[in-house]
Symmetry: C2
Subunit: 314 residues, 2 copies
């Protein structure tokens, strides 16, 4: 136990502290997360907290991303600090994870950076083309087995958890429950993850090193939550864009399609964007007006966002 009267710099045990960035962008209608190749497999960009070089943690992440990737990142937000014993073999290592948003652009470098399709990591999260097949093919049967092999006194609890997490039974799919789903799938042994005793056949989604896919899941959940009440989408969009593009990007992150007319009304009503006067002719139909983000709203309004009430779909 440490001395609870002392306040100030501790001289007690120290821990390894790393920084991890979940850098998100959008390429057309594909949400992307930046990964780098490592000896231990594909991973999120990470590095150690370098002593006293940076005044703040965010500055340290900015420098890390800048030096490793040279990618201009437009938004940083601290996500969570992961510190489970087992997350890294060999002892406790903390990872302070940051969510970062960037415009899509090619990246290259010694770390073999790659813009990974987000839904390769979480195929069950993309409902834009209807209910993902893996749910009925893999998840629902596995949930059934999990419930069947369950002590009777726990059955009600487990059933409830399964229904809520995956929107089976009476419950509806909640786009926000990304982490819950990830963790339940992990329990169901459907994820091939580092540290697992033996390899899985037919594991779901693309694996990342260590607990990095879990970190990415936390980032997706946070991002989906933020969409509704902060204008963060614009950080991945170019300077000017059409309302359709804006909607497609929101849909890409939300993993579901939105009602087009209402989306327009919402965006217009929120005064988040203003027309530039230009048009985009490449639509294949009537040309679309180009808009730009009214960056003033960042200072104007208390909590402007896309107003997507609970990310409601069509």
């Amino acid at each position: 136990m440490s001395d609870d009267r002392r306040v100030g710099l501790a001289d007690g045990p120290q821990a390894v502290v790393g920084l991890t960035a979940v850098i998100v962008s959008v390429d057309g209608t594909t949400p992307r997360v930046l990964t780098v190749g490592t000896d231990g497999g594909e991973a999120l960009p990470s590095g150690d907290l370098a002593g006293d070089r940076d005044r703040t943690l965010e500055a340290a992440v900015r420098r890390l991303v800048g030096e490793q990737l040279g990618l201009p990142v437009r938004y940083f937000e601290q996500l969570y600090t992961f510190g489970d014993q087992a997350r890294v073999p060999g002892g406790r290592a903390l990872a302070v994870a940051y969510l970062a948003l960037a415009r899509h652009q090619p990246v290259s470098g010694p770390g073999r950076p790659h813009w990974r399709d987000w839904y390769e990591l979480f195929p069950w999260e993309d409902w834009r083309r209807g209910r993902p097949g893996v749910l009925d093919q893999v998840v629902v049967p596995a949930l059934g087995a999990w419930l069947a092999a369950c002590p009777a006194e726990e059955l009600a609890t487990r059933t409830e958890r399964a229904e809520l997490t995956f929107g089976t039974g009476n419950a509806r799919w909640d786009p926000m429950r990304v982490l819950d789903r990830y963790e339940l799938l992990y329990e169901l042994a459907l994820l091939e993850e580092a540290g697992r005793r033996r390899p899985l056949v037919g594991a779901l989604g693309h694996q990342l090193a260590l607990d990095h896919r879990r970190i990415a899941a936390a980032a997706l959940e946070r991002l989906r939550g933020k969409l509704a009440y902060r204008p963060v989408v614009f950080e991945v969009l170019p300077e000017t864009f059409t309302l359709s593009t804006l909607q497609q990007v929101v849909e890409a992150f939300a993993g579901q399609v939105l009602h087009k007319q209402n989306f327009r009304r919402l965006v217009a009503g929120a005064n988040l964007v203003e027309p530039t006067g230009g048009v985009d002719q490449r639509t294949g139909g009537r040309p679309a007006e180009l808009y730009r983000f009214r960056r003033e709203v960042l200072r104007e309004r208390p909590a402007p966002g896309m107003g997507l009430r609970r990310l409601g779909g069509p």
Copy 2:
């Protein structure tokens, strides 16, 4: 820069990692936060992350709180990781902060624990008895001076920031902007805080050691946000309670009064509580029915909360 190909336990520089708990309760209509006396002044309960003893960070905080205070805490949630260089004299020290909720009960121990009235730390945040006096007596004049002593090209930005943060001018007071307000007051040199060059006269609110009042501000903001969409209030309430008590507790955290009839309708409609059959006679008027929290909703509903849309007042 660290080797970006390595994944696993780092052997690079290590950092001091501490844990800090913001333990919240309610005593009648007074929101409380638990502080301990230290050589450096009044502080939040803190300790070092003790090597490999705990499997998770939350377990470590639980143990820390248990051993230091012996207080039964009913809810833990990771808040933020603070790691500014300057937060602790002598070099970088990380603090992983947790928000904790407990039922109010006396505490004692070697650390001189004390249930501090939350609004002693942030007197400007309590609007339950109308607009706090300090705003017009101290803050608004200071904002005026800050704007007057401002380079012309920055005036518009500063004015906007001031209006938004403190709800002056056209903007309305936003209960959620706790951290923004804290930081602006700090910039205005209205807070007597550790690390400040010279003591202030007439500083606002009760000071805590290091950056602990800032951590508490982050906790209040988080808690106010959570109220609206997760049933966390019940963790500070006794097993049974009246709807008035429930409302008073929500009002205590929100720092503003709520419309009574709508509050009732809301709580009833959300199915968050069920009547016990008992009544509380000590009301001074018609006896109030006693309710209990339907703990099942934690598993039933995706995002149940008090439904306070943007914490709307009367």
